[in-house]
Subunit: 613 residues, 2 copies
């Protein structure tokens, strides 16, 4: 009797390899440059073909959850789709957190999960789970691939699947995001009779008439632009509110044009990538301190807008959200080129599925030049006062609390830095303390689902994109959540990879001290259930993973440690050699940090209200 798992008798090349080679040749051809591989047996043909495909870099990750976030960070920073390979079973389930984030944040990933062939599924074969549509609605496309066999069309189908997978991941079907290819593979899994990516795979990947997928971003009709121009009539109090969005080197200039033409301020979330950049110089319409300014009820009421243009996803600032909810603008225009509806407050009056940069450009043209500066000037003056108020508070105290640590970090960043900022408090501190800045520093954040998971891996992935010196700003709990992610940064493991991690360590969940539950104290077991102190000394983590480490307790020491970290990196840059991970550990007092944050907020509110007199 032939066993179901017996190998076929054949001396021809293992069809798993013919198919996988065509698949990876096609992925490389369609724009994938990197494959994150987690070790496994069933996935052997995928791993080997990925590694042997010219044009693909591979990195190897023991933990698939970390691999998923590494791929996410890399795709986010590079703007190119990244592929993932894992074996069957719970390995694939570990991708879900990164897949969810990629789905909400619209980051292109191509997830390839090895699987048992259909005849072995649901009969209790080892390491076999139901992987069909494993990621539910979180993927833009799911395909159960054919089980490779002797079919002559294997290569053609592999190439076609690869091209389509990348197109779907890049938004062909609506918006960019993850796609899932489930790959059934029969034994034998080793490359019997196969010698490498050969002419067949090459031919399949570069056929005479290669498939090209196109989906140009839509632009607004002249009628719409005309209607929008009317909304920006002189005297209209408008605001351009920008939430987290992918870095787009074109967008800043166009937003600035519209803002100047209409005389509207730009409220720019840190992760909107509009608060810093060439368009955000000293004289720019970008304001930095909206979050603190709008905590003043008087300022908020005095500056209630008539028209709001919303770009990107929901801003991190709760003050901005409450301001709009309490002073609903007559018109609120949500722009999303991929057709989403970012409007949790139900304030939208118009939802435009158009390209934001081209919309801003044509809207600005339609408005034309004008002298409508009073409204914008009022925001600029308030922001200037806020900026001085922040500086005064920081100058009055030399203690290294969380807001100060974030502020210092921002100032110390190299001009071409990539700052990956964790959720929970770090992004909020950054929103509060980051100035308007003409340097082209990029800010990345996992603002799709706002989780604190996968931060180390996301940042290491961004570092692997090699677009600038990369820094992770994180709290201690996020670091603990993805501690194993540090493995990818171990020196020698990923040559050329370097990352500075600044960890604001208040020994637990600092954000809860800002929430109403904190007032209930031990009646709700606040320390145990919410604050969750862990008492870990990250010096040991640094030693475990071979990372550099500095514990800093003063502003001076912190500045020196940051300078060290960044100069070390730039001195290595030319050589292409990474220096791995270095951790700048900033122990922060929780209560003093909360107090400093509130002092800053109160100072800005006072400054804002002074301007109203």
């Amino acid at each position: 009797m032939t066993a179901i798992s017996d190998a076929p008798n054949s001396s021809s090349p293992n069809p798993n390899y013919r198919f996988a080679a065509a698949l990876f040749a096609g992925l490389a051809r369609a724009g994938v440059g990197h494959v994150c591989i987690s070790p496994g047996s069933r996935s052997t043909p995928l791993s080997v073909c990925a590694a042997r495909q010219p044009g693909l870099r591979v990195s190897v990750h023991v933990d698939e959850r970390s691999a998923g976030f590494f791929a996410l960070g890399l795709a986010r920073a590079s703007g190119s789709p990244v592929a993932l390979v894992c074996t069957s079973g719970t390995a694939a389930a570990n991708y879900l957190p990164a897949v969810v984030e990629a789905s909400h944040a619209r980051v292109p990933l191509v997830v390839l999960t090895a699987d048992r062939p259909p005849e072995l599924r649901d009969w209790d074969a080892g390491q076999t789970i139901d992987q069909i549509k494993l990621y539910g609605g979180y993927v833009r496309w799911f395909a159960e691939l054919p089980t490779p066999d002797a079919s002559p069309w294997l290569e053609r189908v592999g190439a076609g699947l690869a091209a389509r997978a990348v197109a779907q991941a890049c938004g062909q079907g609506g918006s960019p995001g993850p796609v899932h290819l489930n790959c059934p593979l029969r034994e034998p899994l080793d490359p019997v009779g196969w010698t490498g990516p050969g002419p067949a795979a090459e031919a399949a990947a570069a056929p005479r008439s290669a498939v090209v997928y196109e989906r140009p971003l839509p632009t607004a009709s002249p009628e719409t632009v005309e209607a929008l121009a009317a909304l920006a009539a002189p005297g209209t109090r408008g605001v351009i509110a920008c939430g987290p969005q992918a870095w787009d080197p074109e967008l800043g200039a166009q937003v600035e044009k519209l803002a100047r033409a209409a005389g509207w301020p730009v409220i720019a979330d840190p992760a909107s990538n509009l608060r810093a950049g060439p368009h955000a110089g000293a004289d720019s319409p970008v304001v930095a301190s909206a979050d603190f300014l709008l905590r003043s009820d008087r300022f908020a009421a005095d500056h209630a807008p008539d028209v709001v243009l919303r770009l990107g996803s929901t801003p991190v600032s709760k003050a901005v959200r409450l301001w709009l909810e309490r002073h609903p603008p007559q018109e609120l225009i949500v722009v999303d080129p991929f057709g989403g509806t970012s409007d949790p407050s139900q304030l939208a009056t118009r939802v435009l599925a158009v390209d934001p940069a081209s919309l801003c450009a044509s809207w600005a043209r339609a408005v034309g030049p004008g002298q409508r500066d009073e409204w914008l000037s009022s925001w600029r003056r308030a922001d200037g006062r806020a900026s001085r108020a922040l500086a005064d508070v920081f100058d009055a105290d030399d203690a290294l609390h969380e807001p100060r640590a974030v502020r210092e970090l921002w100032q110390a960043l190299p001009d071409d830095a990539v700052l990956y900022v964790s959720n929970s408090m770090p992004i909020r501190h950054l929103d509060a303390c980051m100035p308007v800045d003409a340097r082209p520093v990029r800010v990345l954040a996992n603002r799709g689902a706002n989780g604190i998971d996968g931060m180390v891996s996301s940042a290491l992935g961004a570092a692997a994109a090699d677009v600038g010196p990369t820094v992770l700003l994180t709290g201690d709990l996020a670091l603990v959540h993805d501690l194993g992610g540090l493995l990818a940064g171990r020196e020698g493991r990923s040559p050329g990879l370097s990352l500075t991690i600044v960890v604001l360590d208040n020994d637990g969940g600092g954000i809860f001290s800002f929430l109403p539950i904190a007032a209930h104290g031990e009646s709700v077991r606040f320390e145990e259930l919410f604050r969750t102190p862990h008492g870990l000394d990250f010096a040991h983590a640094a030693r475990l993973f071979g990372a550099g480490y500095a514990r800093v307790e003063s502003v001076a020491h912190y500045r020196a440690a940051l300078k060290d970290a960044f100069s070390q990196r730039s001195s290595q840059a030319g050589a292409g050699a990474g220096v791995g991970v270095s951790i700048v550990h900033v122990p922060c007092d929780r209560d003093a940090s909360v107090a400093q944050f509130r002092t800053l907020g109160a100072a800005v509110a006072r400054a804002a209200e002074e301007g109203l007199r």
Copy 2:
């Protein structure tokens, strides 16, 4: 304008708390004893009510993936359902690996995920993902709970949902497994106006006519038993092959009765919990070395069976599987009380959804006493020869390779120990080297989906069940995969928790050296893609997480370290004070371990074939 997230004006108790209190009172009443909580804001009412509910213990876990596996291990070791609480977003996605394992392994979990209320979903509100049916087909029941409001029936519905959730998790709808309650909660999230679990929650949890869910396990009909008895006629060569299954103190005695009556050997997987126990004494029908014996083609052919009774899920031994595939028995009976079909080789002739213990008992009665010992004796003699052959190989070499380390660990275990064994090589080494043993040592393994993820957390969860001194046997990659899981074992964090971790460290994926891909060497980048050496020194991990640590390089040192670990535990047992985690680190040479495994196999094969002469 009222903001969608504004708090209602009300001085009555926060309905979130009325509802959550009833929910947790109901869970406690239905048999949940432990809730694993991960910190979050949206989940505040769930966390607070879980912690304040009499009869529930809570533990707090920063990483939801680790929390999921902790709950899995605890439920597996205790046999009782365990609840999980997390906040909204990717937090919930991190449970998927443990949910998948629990589904396949039929471990009862009640997963409670906090969520935004429906009006905030899919409008890009913060930390809001689509949690409806997030775990797909992996849960036995999904319920979207009502958003708590002023309804007078809140408590009644909460109690009813809790009772039904536990019933579904325990198999009311088919088989035990995870259930998912998605819990929408509106602000305010702190316990405004609520003072604790009160009479309403109590009354709801203990109403006049409490709901009782019952689903007795089915038993075989007399006709079936008669037919089975005929299959065990004198001279029939039968085998009872037992795969991984939940520990059942009744099953061993019944299986032994049937085996003795029919004269059939019992091939017992380590995780079947039938190779050790009171029924598995010196004279028992249980054989230990089937995996090695059946690697001899001559022995396998000579011992081809006519009838096979399969209990539990698919055994870990590939040799057993191939033996049956190459020598298909006339009859193969798969028994699964929950109606599954464990038959990847398509050999079953009868699939019985009946309780295995009662089936074995009535089948044994129907067979009656008899003298049919020759077939069984032949297996026993072979197993005896195998046992001596193993001992001879071990005695001839004092080196601490992986098989030896597993063998020594087994011998050193306290009688009432719980051994949690990792997938990949540890379970295979245990299958090869674990003797038949009359001690009631329990073996737990994640053999639902056979992943190497979550091992540390699973074992810590099992330790929290407090059923005996708990030991994790793991490889280094599984330890790396769940390194953060060690946090739950940090001294002081979970009082009373203690675990010994024996890590066989061959610096990478040792299993790949056993697979055909190893022969392809650097042409497939074997070291980088498959072996994946990491070079981590676990001494630093021990320091980071405050665990005890011993690195052992000789058998004598290893024995002393194990003795230390176990005696420390027993001396503390009475006091109820745990000593946290201690790591016994066994560096193993990969190639020498592979060689020792193959030497053992060859020795057993020779011994098996000698008996055939």
